[in-house]
C-alpha cells in the first residue's frame, strides 16, 4: 500500500490557446473514497480527468496519481492501476461484448478469463456473445464499467457513469463502487445528475469556470454555506397563532395549501426552533430537510444569485 493519496493536484492550470479550462485547482483525494466531481458543461471536469489520466499535461502545477506522475516514464506502470470510463463511449459495434472486453484485457496485459469474470460481475454474461450493436445504452455502460475494472485498478475515473442506467441498475452500480471502496479502491466520478448522488458519494468537488469552488463531505459543504434548513410542519392551529412561533427575523415561513407550514431556518437556529415547535400546540408532525446537493451546488456556482430554497 502506498501512503500517497490517490490523486494530488497542486495549483494546476490548463489552457487551450486563449481558453483557460482549469485555473489554480488544488485537490487531494485520499485512497479508498468515492468522490463526485460536479460542475456544469465546460466547468473543466473532463479536462481534470484527462490530466489525472495523463492524456494532457498541465500548463501549470503538478499532478500526482497514486504517488506517480501520469505523464512520463511512470505512465505505463500507472495506467495498469487505473480504470477509466469515458463519457458516451461507443465500443466496437461489430464485436461481441466478450470479444471487445478480451481485446481490452489483452491491451492491459490481463488474461482473457478475467474479461469473462467481469462480464458476470456486471451482469452481461447472458449477452456476452451478442454484438455490441444490439446492446441497450445501459448494457453498453455496464460493458464500459467492466472495461474500467480490468486489472483490479486502485483508482477508477468514471465520466458520467450512470447516464442511461435505470434506477435499479444505478443502485447496483453504486453498490459495486461501495464494494470496491471497501477493498480500498478510490473512485472519482463526474456527474451532472445531482439528485440522489449525495447518498452514494463520500465527498464532492464542485468545479465551475475552471476553478474548484468547493470540496468536502456534504456536512462540510453545508457548514460552509448560510443555506437554511427546511422544517415542514403538519398540524392544526388557529390562524395567526403560528406567527408567534417565528418572531426571529432570520426565519422565513411559507404556508402551503393544506395548511402545512414550511419554515426556513439558518442551521445555527435549528435546535432552538425545534424545541419551541415541540412544545407548541397543534403540531402533529415535523420533518426536517437539510439543504440538498442541488441547493449547495447552486449556491457555490452562483453565489450572487438570490438564495434558492430547498424543495
Amino acid at each position: 500500500m502506498t501512503a500517497a493519496p490517490a490523486i494530488a493536484l497542486e495549483g494546476i492550470g490548463r489552457r487551450f490557446g486563449a481558453l483557460t479550462a482549469l485555473n489554480g485547482v488544488s485537490l487531494t483525494v485520499p485512497e479508498g473514497q468515492i468522490w463526485g466531481l460536479l460542475g456544469h458543461n465546460g466547468a473543466g471536469k473532463t479536462t481534470m480527468m484527462k490530466l489525472v489520466l495523463g492524456l494532457l499535461r498541465p500548463s501549470t502545477g503538478t499532478v500526482r496519481v497514486l504517488g506517480l506522475t501520469p505523464t512520463g516514464p511512470e505512465a505505463g506502470a500507472l495506467r495498469r492501476r487505473i480504470g477509466y470510463l469515458p463519457e458516451a463511449v461507443a465500443f466496437y459495434d461489430d464485436l461481441s461484448g466478450r470479444e471487445a472486453l478480451r481485446y481490452f484485457a489483452r491491451l492491459k496485459g490481463r488474461p482473457a478469463r478475467e474479461a469473462d469474470g467481469l462480464l458476470e460481475r456486471v451482469e452481461l454474461a447472458a449477452a456476452a456473445d451478442r454484438r455490441i450493436k444490439t446492446y441497450s445504452k445501459g448494457m453498453r455502460q455496464r460493458l464500459g464499467l467492466a472495461q474500467a475494472l480490468l486489472g483490479d485498478p486502485r483508482l477508477l475515473l468514471l465520466d458520467e457513469p450512470t447516464v442511461g442506467l435505470d434506477p435499479i441498475a444505478t443502485g447496483r452500480f453504486y453498490q459495486l463502487l461501495r464494494d470496491l471502496r471497501d477493498q480500498g479502491v478510490t473512485t472519482l466520478l463526474s456527474s451532472h445528475v445531482l439528485p440522489g448522488i449525495e447518498r452514494h458519494v463520500d465527498r464532492v468537488a464542485i468545479l465551475g469556470g475552471g476553478r474548484l469552488l468547493a470540496s468536502g463531505t456534504m456536512e462540510e459543504l453545508r457548514a460552509a454555506t448560510p443555506l437554511p434548513v427546511s422544517i415542514r410542519l403538519c398540524g392544526t392551529w388557529p390562524p395567526g397563532q403560528w406567527q408567534d412561533l417565528v418572531s426571529d427575523p432570520r426565519i422565513s415561513v411559507r404556508r402551503h395549501a393544506a395548511g402545512d407550514l414550511e419554515i426556513l431556518v439558518p442551521a445555527g437556529g435549528k435546535l432552538d426552533l425545534l424545541r419551541q415547535l415541540m412544545a407548541a400546540e397543534g403540531v402533529a408532525d415535523i420533518s426536517l430537510t437539510p439543504p440538498g446537493l442541488e441547493a449547495l451546488y447552486a449556491h457555490f456556482c452562483h453565489p450572487d444569485s438570490p438564495r434558492r430554497e430547498t424543495p
Partner: protein, 279 residues
Amino acid sequence: MTALFAVAAKEIRDGLRNRWVVAIALIFAFLAIGLAWFGPAVSGTVGFAPLATTIVSLSSLAVFLIPLIALMLGYDTVVGEDESGTLTLLLTYPISRLQLLGGKFLGHAAILALSTVLGFGAAGLLIAALTQQLDSAALWREFGFFILTATLLGWVFAAMACLISVSVTEKAKAAGLALVVWFGAVIVFDLALLGLLVATRGAVGELGRVVLPYLLLLNPADVFRVANLVGFAPARSYAGLANVVAADTLSPAVLVAVLAGWAALTFALAAWRFQRRNI
C-alpha cells in the same frame, strides 16, 4: 509488444469479419482472370493470354485499384476511433501511441498482403495451368515480383491512410483527403509530369532524360508502374510514360527498396504527427 500485436490481431480480425480480405482477394482474382481472358479478345483471338502479358495489363489496373483499396481500408483507423470515443480510452491503456498506430498499420499491411497473395496467387495458378506454363520458373519469378511490388504498393498507401487518419479530426475530411491523395498519385502526378515534358519539349534535352526517372520515384504509384512495366520485355510498348525510364537506370531491387522506403517514411511521418495530436 503484446499490445501492438493485440491491436494488429484486432485489425486483421475486423478485416476478416467485415469481409475486406475476401472482397479484395476476389476483386484481384477476377481482375487477373478477366484480363487474361479478355486481353487477347481485343486482338481477335479467344482464350487465355500468357501470364507475362497478363501481368502487364494487370499492373496498369492494379496501380489504380490497390492505392484506392489501401486508403479505404485505413483512412478512418484513428479518426474513426476518435469519433467513437475509443481512442481516448485506448490511450489511457498501457500502450504508446506508436504501438497503437504500428499495430493498426501492421494489421492493415497483413490484410493487404494476405488478399494480394491469395487473389493474384490463385488467379496466377489458374491462368498458368490453363496456358500450360506451370513449370516456367522465370515466369513465377516475374509473377512473384509483381505480387511483391503490389503488396508494397498497398503498404505505402496503408501508411498514407494512417497519415491522413492522424492528421484530421473528422472522418468525412479523412475520406475526402484520401480521395485527393489517390487522385493525385494515380492521375494528376503523371499528367503534370507529362505536361512538363510537353511544355519544355526540346528544352529539357539531356538533363530531362537523366532527371525524369528520378522524378518518377517521387510518386510510389509510378515506382510500381516502372517496376512492373519496364521489367518485362513484352511490356515496353505499353509502358507509356514509364517507358522513358531506361530499364537499366533503376534495377528491380532498387525499385523495391524505394517502395519499401516510401512505406517506412510515410509511416514514420504518420507516427510523428500522431504523437502531436491533441486528444
